[in-house]
Symmetry: C3
């Protein structure tokens, strides 16, 4: 009873976080019909800055990290990415009124990762003084790529099976390549390479890191407004998308939390790392995923997967998921 | 005599301010035919940052303010906004060669408020070490909304009276709503709400406040270039617009200064607050006003009111009004 | 032998510079087919910030400088700008397969100056603790304008001579004016004037200077991607452009280094100043030059001169030229 109360208190405390406030503020002003517009160039720049910040920091951390420590969390990240897609394949994609390839694409997007959600969690962990290995955010591609690839492969297999007699092989490398060349992953990997191979400390500390927090608040605001706007799209597809999008971020995060806890027991993976792994799993891709899926599963309806992710999945992951996983971590690890 | 000399010295000293320098620099390079262009996305972003900075700071200040202290200045702000429109209605809008609804729209724009002018005055007050209550900039909507609403109502009444037999009621709420949903006021109110209800101190001090000063210099530059470019538009309408636009910012500011002084005597409203109230009254809207007026008084000619405000009203308000009101305040309050 | 080894060590050390790393990173990800895009508005804003930063700082420095000290370096800057164009006129423009006016335009672009290359060198000198007079970057227009003007005049003379009987005079003032009104030079001169005539210290130290370094890294990235993309254009013109673009930055820089050394002996021009003069000479214009040349020599093929400058000239000037001139300076001046 005390534990539950303690948990609830910690959960509610997270709502003072400015990141959440900006997200919710964005939803509220969009609902009130505000004509506020943040230019698209600023949105793209903010996303680029976030990814570079995460990448450079990750690269600098990997330079000094014991690679052995990264092995298990990276494997778990990939495992979770695949698990999410498989679970979506046998749940959402099977439901009545859900076109199978639409369901698979949605599962792929929820398996993929959102840099903004990750960044919001990083800032909130920092505000709470919860430490994590600096390389944890660099687990991003380990979860993102397998999820997108698996979703496209499963959709391909399904569509080919439907056509009698077709048995052409699914080629995986082009999907991986498409995913790596996308703007999000290539910015992240560029940052990783720069952090790993060069000495960007000064430009990181004087530019990418300080601007990151501020631009994150603007991104949250845009995502909030976007979430409200996309709700209309979601209304036009089966209600199951809404149910899935509301439940999946929390369910996926809890699975990842469990695996992260195993890594904690096995190799001392930090509490903050476990929480971030859960946040990565709970997040759904808002930048890199949609174009990759659009190219990879051209017959799937973008309204279904983008609507589900942007208007419900992301707000749930940020506004409920992050506080939940942080409060859970505080209880479990007694911090 | 000494007093006049003292006043003139203080007035001239203000011209070293970088804000004025950037404004005048913008006019000069535009006059010299410079092809310099600041992307529109940067302009919009700078305006957004200004409004959020003013809003968040105002919200945090209101949280700790004695609301009773705000009452009189807020009432005076609304009074000044309405007074400006009424004065414009019986002066500019009556003049020969001025179409009545164009004159009313112009008066509405001069009653409304400019965030950049306000921000320039805030930075200049700070440079001079003149304190003001942190909630003063949040008086913005109290002057802005009544002025725009009253202008649209007056124009409506005039146009309906002209049509024989028309006596449909003017509906005020849609005008207020339109005004609140505009990009400027919704950003300002969002900032106010975030400052009031959440704890954005860190992102305010690390992002919105420091960038605010720099982006203001860029806004001043753009406004200077814009002022020169719009002069052509102004040439095509009656010369009375030029006269009004040159005199009104100073006259309006002096009226507000007088009312502010009353508030100073009555409730101890700060000298800096009195100066800012005068600046608010002297400023004319460059962002929120024009679209609201365009929607509210569709038959009015935008060249007249935007030209008058952008090319003469704003430069006069910033480059003459602010130094004037500051010097006046220094003499009156002996600071 | 030791000297050579010392030189090579110093040369290689420069490659840890983040500026170079971002440039090379940009080329690598473009070659790998990345779809990363930095919005054009951000690119233009970054360039504007660089030029304002260089201009304001230069203006503030000139305010306190002994103008006599600037005289010789400024004269040498103009001399180098003209020399580069004349050398290009009698080498590149004479080669088989090179259209004469294309060759002259290319020489003009290589005589003109790149703000980003200059900025990269400034940051690298600072990282090495090599001092220079703060007014040195303000030598920019002294080299830039003469080079562009001379190129346009030479092209005009050539084209008129070709038409029998034509002897209309070439008018120089319109070319100078066109060049001064271009976005790059007008931003730089605005910054100079603001630094010289007003007190922008606070906005300089709080905004232009700190953002300058970070935005430079983004510019380098964009220039790297652009360099790779433009290679295709270059492939469609004569190979001599590639040879010229690879050799010219280093040759021009060495000429300027020699002249700078003379100024060092004559008037004590600083080692850092000598290096920056070489960098200015080695750089080729990426912003102001192309539109001026396009207007001034309309029959020249932009693919040839822009391709040569962007895809080979600039990367060579930054990634080989700057480290080379710094290492040379360290040896020559024993610093």
């Amino acid at each position: 009873m005390d534990l539950l109360l303690d948990f609830l208190t910690r959960f509610v405390t997270q709502f003072q976080s400015p990141s959440l406030a900006f997200l919710i503020g964005g939803m509220v002003i969009a609902a009130l019909g505000s004509k506020l517009e943040i230019p698209d160039a600023i949105y793209k720049f903010a996303v680029f800055m976030l990814l570079m910040r995460i990448g450079i920091d990750g690269g600098m951390a990997i330079r000094e990290a014991d690679l052995g420590d990264m092995l298990l969390p990276a494997a778990f990240a990939a495992l979770v990415g695949c698990l999410i897609v498989l679970v979506g394949r046998v749940t959402l994609a099977m439901l009545p009124g859900v076109k199978t390839e639409d369901g698979i694409a949605t599962a792929g997007l929820f398996g993929a990762v959102s840099a903004s959600t990750l960044a919001a969690a990083m800032v909130m962990l920092e505000a709470d003084g919860i430490a994590y290995e600096a390389w944890v955010p660099a687990l991003y591609p380990f979860m993102d790529i397998p999820a997108l690839v698996l979703a496209i492969v499963l959709a391909d297999l399904y569509l080919k099976k439907r056509k009698a007699g077709a048995d052409a092989k699914v080629r995986i490398w082009p999907i991986v390549k498409e995913s790596l060349q996308g703007s999000a992953l290539s910015a992240l990997l560029l940052g990783l390479a720069l952090g790993l191979l060069t000495r960007p400390d000064q430009v990181f500390e004087g530019f990418y890191d300080p601007l990151f927090r501020g631009l994150l608040s603007i991104l949250m605001l845009i995502m909030g407004m976007e979430a409200y706007t996309r709700l209309n799209e979601l209304r036009r597809v089966a209600h199951w998308y809404g149910v899935y999008a509301a439940v999946a971020p929390l369910a996926h995060g809890l699975i990842a939390f469990g695996l992260g806890y195993l890594a904690h027991l096995a190799t001392g993976f930090s509490p903050g790392g476990v929480i971030l792994l859960a946040v990565l799993a709970g997040s759904s891709s808002d930048i890199s995923g949609p174009p990759t899926l659009r190219a990879g599963i051209p017959t799937a309806n973008p309204s279904s997967y983008i609507g589900a992710s942007t208007s419900i999945g992301t707000p749930v992951a940020i506004a409920i998921g992050i506080p939940l996983f942080i409060a859970l971590g505080q209880i479990v690890f007694d911090i």
